[in-house]
Structures are given as structure tokens and as C-alpha cells.
């Protein structure tokens, strides 16, 4: 049976000639802009599949009994009477200037709405990412230093952590820390103490995934020739681990930051809802529930933009950590 290839096989499949770092970055950014355009196009046409009249939805749904004149006025105002292609180009033009349209349900523009909600979610995501890294790194270094038993415990903890659904972890933490012990608030208040449970909820499953990857690459690195030669030079165990091996262990996790960010945003939908925290995730869920199309599209486009930016940044970061990639 053939061995499973490494997930990234772009170098095997395509004979792209080596480019300089700068040219490569420009290509990468152009590619990112292209993907963003495709994302906007896909959402524009996908939203047209929604059954029912958008003018009716703007006026409060089928129950609103809007008059024919009111509907016609709304169609003219939103350009819904224009041909699809004109609407599409107008939409792209608005997006290019940062205009995300107007919410059906909230009587406000989507741009300012997203801006008012994004800070809380980013704070949550950054803290959770930091905690997840810390947990994963401690578990990976501890479990590779110990013997087979430590490895088994580490691996088991990571599998369980990665399997925890956010909503169950959140409710279990609330039961223990808020209801039984009464030490942490079940509702996320504005203070730092209110952040503890939401951040832990988001961080633990993520740490499970990061930990699995880190431990695996740490083990591979510790068995590689450069570690052997470092040991032969008489470097201390601590030096070998922290200077040589950890750099390799960090690489897959850095590559994963784009995915981790995306999974944190999607986790924020659950966590912000359970802990009643204002933020992008909760706004998105509310908008999906009441079918507020412009808000859903706006939030999704912002997340896609952030996700694409993250992948470009991690690409650059990986090249800084691993000099071999700069030659490829």
C-alpha cells in the first residue's frame, strides 16, 4: 500500500520555478485577493437562492402585509429591480469601498455593526489561542520527556480534549464553577473574571488538536540527525529541546493558526451565545435565526477576509521559522 503523502504536496505536483521571496509574496497577496473576490461572488449568488421576495423580507417578512407601492419603493431603493449583473457589479463596488449594506432587522448599517462587535470576539479568540498554545506546549513537552506511560496519558488527554463539544464543555464548566462552587460568573460580564470560562471553553478543544500535532513533530524532531549532532556536541538536554526541537514542533502549529482562528470564530458562535457575551459570533447566530441576509453575508465576508489574511501571515511566519522553506 502506498504511504499517505504529506498534506501539502504542491511541490510534487507542479513544476513552478523558484521565485524570490518578494515576488512570491506578491503572488500570494494577488491570489488572496482573487479568493476574496470569489468568496464575495459565491455569497452573492448563493443568497439569491433564498426562496421568497427580498423586498418582503426587508419590510419585515411575509407577515408584514406590505402594500404593493411600499414593495416597489423598496425594490427601487435597494436596486432589486435592476438586472442581476448590474446588482452584482453594484454589490462588488460597494464591497470595494467597505460598504457592507444595511441590516434587515436591526435598522443599522452592517459595517458599523460588525465593527462594534468584532473587538470582543477578537479579544476572546486571541486569549483562547494563547491559552491553547500554552496548554498544548506544556502537555507536549511533558509527555515526550516522560516514558511510554506519560506519552499515553498525553495522547489520551489530547484525543479527549479534541472531542469536547464547546456547548457541553461550557455548560459543564458553568455547573461546576458557577453553580456548585460559585467562584466564576455564568454570564460573561465586562470584567476580566467573566472572560475566564469562555476562554477556557474555546482553548481546551483547540489545545487538543495543537497538542497532537506538536507532540508528533517534537518526537520526529528529537529522533532526527541534527538533534543527535547537537547532543554529540555536548549541548544540554534543555538546550537541545528548547533551541532545536521546539522550533520544529512549533512549525505545524504555526501553519495551523489560520485554521485555529477560523475554528475559534466558529466556536465563538456557541460560546458567546451560552455566556451571553456580545460579539460577532452571537450577532451571526441571531442573524441566521431571523434570516437577516446582509448581516450574515457581512460577517461571513469579514471572517473570510481575516482568515485569508491569517493564512498569508502564517505562510510568512513559517518561512521565518524554517529557513529550508525559503529555498523552495
Amino acid at each position: 500500500m502506498p504511504r499517505r503523502p504529506a498534506p501539502d504536496d504542491s511541490r510534487i505536483t507542479r513544476g513552478v520555478p523558484a521565485r524570490s521571496g518578494g515576488a512570491r509574496l506578491v503572488m500570494r497577496v494577488l491570489g488572496a485577493v482573487g479568493v476574496l473576490w470569489l468568496v464575495a461572488t459565491l455569497t452573492f449568488f448563493a443568497v439569491r437562492l433564498i426562496p421568497g421576495d427580498p423586498a418582503q423580507a426587508i419590510l419585515g417578512g411575509p407577515g408584514s402585509q406590505a402594500s404593493a407601492e411600499a414593495l416597489a419603493a423598496v425594490r427601487a431603493e435597494y436596486g432589486l429591480d435592476q438586472p442581476l449583473l448590474v446588482q452584482y457589479l453594484a454589490q462588488l463596488g460597494r464591497l470595494a469601498t467597505g460598504d457592507l449594506g444595511r441590516s434587515y432587522a436591526l435598522n443599522m448599517d452592517v459595517g458599523p455593526l460588525v465593527m462594534s462587535q468584532i473587538g470582543g470576539t477578537l479579544l476572546l479568540a486571541v486569549l483562547a489561542l494563547a491559552l491553547a498554545w500554552l496548554l498544548a506546549l506544556s502537555l507536549a513537552t511533558w509527555s515526550t520527556r516522560g516514558g511510554g506511560v506519560a506519552r499515553r496519558i498525553g495522547s489520551g488527554l489530547e484525543i479527549v480534549a479534541a472531542a469536547l463539544p464547546h456547548f457541553w464543555l461550557a455548560t459543564s464548566l458553568i455547573v461546576v464553577f458557577s453553580i456548585w462552587w460559585g467562584v466564576l460568573p455564568p454570564i460573561s460580564t465586562s470584567g476580566a473574571i467573566g472572560l475566564v470560562l469562555p476562554v477556557v471553553t474555546l482553548a481546551v478543544p483547540l489545545a487538543g488538536f495543537l497538542g497532537q500535532l506538536m507532540r508528533e513533530s517534537l518526537l520526529t524532531a528529537l529522533e532526527s540527525p541534527f538533534v543527535l549532532s547537537a547532543r554529540a556536541r555536548g549541548e544540554s538536554e534543555r538546550g537541545v529541546r528548547w533551541v532545536h526541537a521546539l522550533r520544529h514542533a512549533a512549525l505545524p502549529a504555526v501553519n495551523l493558526s489560520g485554521w485555529a482562528f477560523g475554528s475559534l470564530i466558529s466556536g465563538a458562535v456557541v460560546v458567546e451565545t451560552i455566556f451571553a457575551r456580545p460579539g460577532l459570533g452571537r450577532t451571526l447566530l441571531n442573524a441566521v435565526t431571523v434570516r437577516d441576509v446582509p448581516v450574515v453575508v457581512g460577517v461571513v465576508l469579514i471572517v473570510a477576509l481575516a482568515y485569508i489574511l491569517m493564512t498569508v501571515l502564517t505562510d510568512v511566519a513559517a518561512r521565518i521559522i524554517d529557513p529550508r522553506l525559503r529555498l523552495a
Binding site: 500500500m1 502506498p2 499517505r4 503523502p5 504529506a6 498534506p7 504536496d9 510534487i12 505536483t13 479568493v35 476574496l36 470569489l38 468568496v39 459565491l42 448563493a46 443568497v47 437562492l49 433564498i50 506519552r151 495522547s155 484525543i159 479527549v160 472531542a163 463539544p165 464547546h166 456547548f167 457541553w168 455548560t171 459543564s172 458553568i174 455547573v175 488538536f209 497532537q212 500535532l213 507532540r215 508528533e216 520526529t220 495551523l256 485554521w259 482562528f261 477560523g262 475554528s263 470564530i265 466558529s266 466556536g267 458562535v269 456557541v270 451565545t273 451571526l284 447566530l285 442573524a287 441566521v288 435565526t289 434570516r291 450574515v296 461571513v300 471572517v303 473570510a304 482568515y307 485569508i308
Partner: protein, 287 residues
């Protein structure tokens, strides 16, 4: 990488579940027993939970876990253990259906990209990049925005969100088989494109699918339950784990067991699927 790709990557690493291949480890034995229990609960729940999941008993409402009611009772005195076991079928079915959709779409896209030349490969890769820009549950939420909430749409939505991950792994697998020496030999001997696809590429791509599907079903169950919990999938009277947990949320201050045990079963299923997937992977590799 996507969640599925991480799972597949870790499962195929030499360190995952080390030990001799021939020996059945204690972990594998426990996993096999748990899988057997979950499958029994899904197909014939009466065998492991003989009670009636709908039998109400108002006098013993909100009973804490005890000998009579191992997982406690809910607001109408229904036995939680019986309800959780009877919900296994629904949850596993939704997870399996979503996995089948994701795997099917992924196989289609991956094989197309891997066999039909550069133009198709380029197009499929751009499509995947676009789909990956809707991370996690976001693609599922957009799908539900368009087609409305419900069990069927939530299942399709989860399948759709996992499809890009499957597609990328399968494409890589197809490409690696295509560039292998035995395919080259078959080409030299005059076997046509269709023959190579059916005789060499597909058989060698399908074996890893068993591992991928097993690793992916845990994720599909967790995501489908999340959608139910958020009120976008199965809704409370239905015996589905996410929906049961959502119903228990109202009584969280007085009856923690109502939301704890359905969730515990989700975790148990997801862990079982992961360990089972790794074990199959290891055995296939050593076979």
C-alpha cells in the same frame, strides 16, 4: 489544513497508538466494546435500555442519578439513560449521513482534480480555497440561512462543510498513486486512462477512505449536535443528543444531569471514532 486533515495527519504518524501491530492492545479492546455498545444502542436500543424513553412519571421528576435512574430523570420524570440510549440511533444516523455526503463530494472533487489534468485541478483547487475561507461551522450557517433550519438541512450543511477537507486529502492521495511506479508501468504497457483510473487509482484511494470516514464521523456528530443545540437542527422533543442537551439548559441550576449525560455520550462517541480510526489506519499500514 482542516480539522479532518489534522486528524488524518496525526493518525498516519508513526507515533500514533504505538506498539506491536499484531497484538490487540487494551485500548483497542475497550474501543471495540464501546463501538459494539454504541452500535447496539443505535440498532436495538431495547437490548441495552429496556425502559420506555417516553414513559412519564411526574412523581419522580428531576430525580438525581441513583441506582433506579443511573443518569437521573428529566422534568417529566423520564429516565435520562433510556432517552440517551434511544437517541443514539438518531445522532449516529445524522453523523453517518453527513459523513457520507462530505466523503462523496470530497471523492468526486478529489478524483476529478487528480485525474483530469491541470485545468480541472486548478479550478477545483480554487473552489476548495474559497470553501476553506468559510471556516468551521460558517459554511453550514450560510447553508442554513438559505435553506432554513431542520434536521435534513443541518445534516447536508455539516456534510458540505466537511467536504473540502476530504477533497484535499483524496486529491493528494490520487496524485501520489498516479506518480507511483506501478501506474507508470501500466501506462507503458498501454493501459488507457480509464483503465488506470478503475484498476489502480480508485482501489488505492478507497482503502484510506475507511480510515477517513471513521475519523470524520466524530467531527460530524459534534457539529450536527452543535447545530441542534443552537436550535438550527433537530429540535427538543426529538431524541437527539444535541437537542436533549439544549432542552436541559433551562434546568441547568437544579438538574445538571439533564445536560451532562447526553453530552458525555457525544464525547464518548467522538473519542471512540478517533481511536477506532487510528487503529484501522495502523492495521492497514502493517497489513
Amino acid at each position: 489544513m482542516s480539522e479532518l486533515e489534522i486528524r488524518a495527519h496525526v493518525a498516519s504518524s508513526p507515533g500514533a497508538l504505538g506498539g506491536a501491530a499484531r497484538r490487540v492492545s487494551a485500548t483497542e479492546l475497550i474501543t471495540a466494546l464501546l463501538s459494539l455498545f454504541l452500535l447496539t444502542a443505535a440498532i436495538a436500543p431495547q437490548l441495552v435500555a429496556p425502559g420506555d424513553p417516553l414513559a412519564i412519571d411526574p412523581l419522580s421528576a428531576f430525580a438525581a442519578p441513583s441506582v433506579a435512574h443511573g443518569f437521573g430523570t428529566d422534568e417529566s420524570g423520564r429516565d435520562i439513560y433510556t432517552r440517551v440510549v434511544h437517541g443514539t440511533g438518531n445522532s449516529l444516523l445524522i453523523g453517518a449521513a453527513a459523513t457520507a455526503i462530505g466523503l462523496g463530494l470530497g471523492l468526486l472533487l478529489g478524483v476529478l482534480a487528480g485525474t483530469l489534468g491541470r485545468a480541472v485541478d486548478f479550478t477545483v483547487n480554487r473552489l476548495l480555497e474559497v470553501l476553506f475561507a468559510f471556516p468551521g461551522l460558517l459554511l453550514a450557517l450560510v447553508f442554513i440561512l438559505i435553506f432554513g433550519p431542520g434536521v435534513a438541512t443541518a445534516t447536508i450543511a455539516v456534510g458540505l462543510s466537511t467536504a473540502p477537507g476530504y477533497a484535499r486529502i483524496i486529491r493528494a492521495q490520487v496524485l501520489s498513486v498516479r506518480s507511483s511506479a506501478f501506474v507508470e508501468a501500466a501506462t507503458v504497457q498501454g493501459l488507457g486512462r480509464a483503465g488506470i483510473l478503475t484498476r489502480h487509482i480508485l482501489p488505492n484511494t478507497l482503502t484510506p477512505l475507511l480510515v477517513l470516514g471513521t475519523l470524520g464521523i466524530g467531527q460530524a456528530i459534534v457539529w450536527a449536535a452543535t447545530l441542534s443545540y443552537l436550535g438550527l437542527g433537530a429540535t427538543p422533543p426529538a431524541a437527539e443528543w444535541g437537542a436533549m442537551l439544549s432542552a436541559g439548559r433551562t434546568y441547568i441550576t437544579s438538574a445538571w444531569w439533564m445536560s451532562f449525560f447526553p453530552g458525555l455520550f457525544i464525547v464518548l462517541t467522538a473519542v471512540t471514532a478517533t481511536v477506532l480510526g487510528r487503529s484501522i489506519e495502523r492495521r492497514l499500514r502493517h497489513a
